[in-house]
Symmetry: C2
Subunit: 324 residues, 2 copies
């Protein structure tokens, strides 16, 4: 543990965030941090980057207002710098959102590490590279973490946080607390898995969708409608595991696995399923019990129903709800 | 085209629906049709079926009230019969929701076909069997269709409608119109694909989730949170295709594919991706243009932002929104 890998600053004293890379994701981070009242410095090598970034922030501002601006939050607190070094020189947290190219990420993180004050955590928005593979060229790899957001970062709460082999575990814990303080919803992973969690799940869905388009089995429009009119309504409320537990009726996940377990052998997707052996069966059932946190199946059904109705109403899909 | 395969009844004259099989899905159908004002006859061979069904309808009723009951809708319009034949004797539409066992479905559909008045469409709630494989033993296979709902059928609008090789196309068209009239959102498929559309998509996600649990890569709780705090919020508003188009920024899906296309080679899920050749690239890009229906990327971003904020507020995930 060196003095460059452990953040010394208290969360409430963090006021200055640097965003490096200001495309869709980096710009979304800029909007998020501005909305939460931070001073943001941003840098992006593209010639039209500043104009694009300011357009993105302007477009996001009505959403940020509805989400609730922090005291003092203002788009005027954004400074676009002409060099990477200027952007991070006084930063207390750095979020890197460069294109997904491993060589580029490696080199950029090494440059950021060299230019950022010691004791400041540097997070990468990478969609899937393990930090272990990206931190190779940095002098202080201990402060480099993955903080993987979802588009748009100012609106979708989730950030997946994970370190690499050479990351200081304290940097991972600090980053998780910082993101929570900055209004994000954090999942901290204890190991590096390509694509993390949510991207693995949506990538499986996306690949199956591409197979269906490639095979002429469904149109893009049908695929989108099949989600927004179907499982997507449930997934805003309750994840896929508890959702499926409710397909088991009063018997919950155990009954669902007894009933639909054989479907894992069906060609319902191009993805081969794992063997549903006793260990996996038990892990899923007890995992659902744990996730239910004492709520009974009837509680969960009532919660889902209230939630889906709220979503249907909020999105104008109930009769007479358009005016609400 | 025989007189037994073409529904003669006008949609507005359909008042009596039979639900055969009254578990989670069949019972959900019962609740849906009751809420929409139909007279429902139900049959299920389980000894405790009636008590379970009435509990399910009672539990669903507050949701049905909020969804908006049709004039005259009442749980009193439910009759549970002691034989299958009584249930369908006067039915104008039949929804079969028996367990997912092919032999059972085949035999049951043949029995239903024999007992149901001619000219009445019989739909199966099967999660994945092609009707071609289920209609083998029926005398009038022309009127047998798949009408695949999502749990719970009284709340999730989607029904996937598709016929088998021996189904009269007119029965498919009539069923699609009937379901729409009964308040469902219909996708009609022109071919049989195992698992239809939405189940293929959620099955890919589910299998990947099982792999992650089996490998100890993520807990059930993390998997669920990664969806409800992440992509699930978007999917209630906009399907996976248009959602990903917005990851391409002002360049839309074409830019997204240019940027993230290489990720299809990454081990981000256990599902192998199709080759992103020019034909697939073009099909996805033009499919998204088509699905956007003239909305620009900026329009879609604004729509998504409004929708996600509405969902966050409706589900109590915005500060101060709990009381709303």
């Amino acid at each position: 543990m060196t003095d460059t890998s452990v953040p010394a600053t208290a969360l409430e004293d963090i006021r200055r965030v640097a965003c490096v890379g200001a495309g869709v994701i980096g710009g979304g981070w800029v909007a998020h941090f501005l909305g939460r009242g931070y001073e943001v410095t941003a840098w992006d090598p593209a010639p039209d980057a500043e104009a694009r970034l300011r357009r993105l922030v302007d477009a996001a501002w009505p959403a940020l207002e509805q989400l609730g601006l922090a005291p003092g939050a203002s788009a005027d607190r954004l400074t676009v710098t002409s060099t990477l070094e200027e952007a991070v020189a006084r930063a207390q947290f750095v979020q890197e959102s460069a294109p997904e190219k491993l060589g580029l990420k490696r080199e950029l993180l090494a440059r950021l590490d060299a230019a950022t004050p010691s004791g400041v955590v540097i997070a990468s928005s990478t969609s899937g590279y393990p930090m272990t593979d990206m931190q190779t060229d940095a002098v202080s790899p201990g402060r480099l973490i993955v903080g993987h957001p979802f588009n748009p970062p100012y609106l979708i709460p989730l950030v997946e946080v994970v370190g690499g082999d050479r990351t200081d575990p304290e940097a991972v814990r600090w980053a998780a607390r910082f993101y929570e303080a900055a209004g994000k919803s954090v999942i901290t992973m204890d190991r590096e898995v390509p694509g993390f969690i949510a991207n693995r799940l949506q990538e499986a869905l996306w690949r199956e969708a591409l197979h269906m388009v490639a095979g002429g089995e469904a149109t893009v429009r049908d695929i989108d409608r099949s989600i927004t009119e179907g499982p997507g309504l449930r997934w805003a409320i309750m994840g896929p595991m508890l959702t499926f537990a409710l397909a088991g009726g009063e018997g919950g996940m155990a009954h669902m696995l007894d009933h639909f377990g054989p479907s894992l052998k069906s060609p319902w997707t191009r993805l081969e399923a794992p063997e549903l052996d006793k260990a996996l069966y038990d892990a899923v059932v007890t995992g659902c019990d744990d996730a239910a946190d004492g709520r009974t199946i009837a509680d969960l059904v009532a919660e889902r129903d209230r939630g889906v109705i709220a979503v249907l109403r909020a999105t104008g899909r109930l009769p007479g709800s358009g005016a609400e």
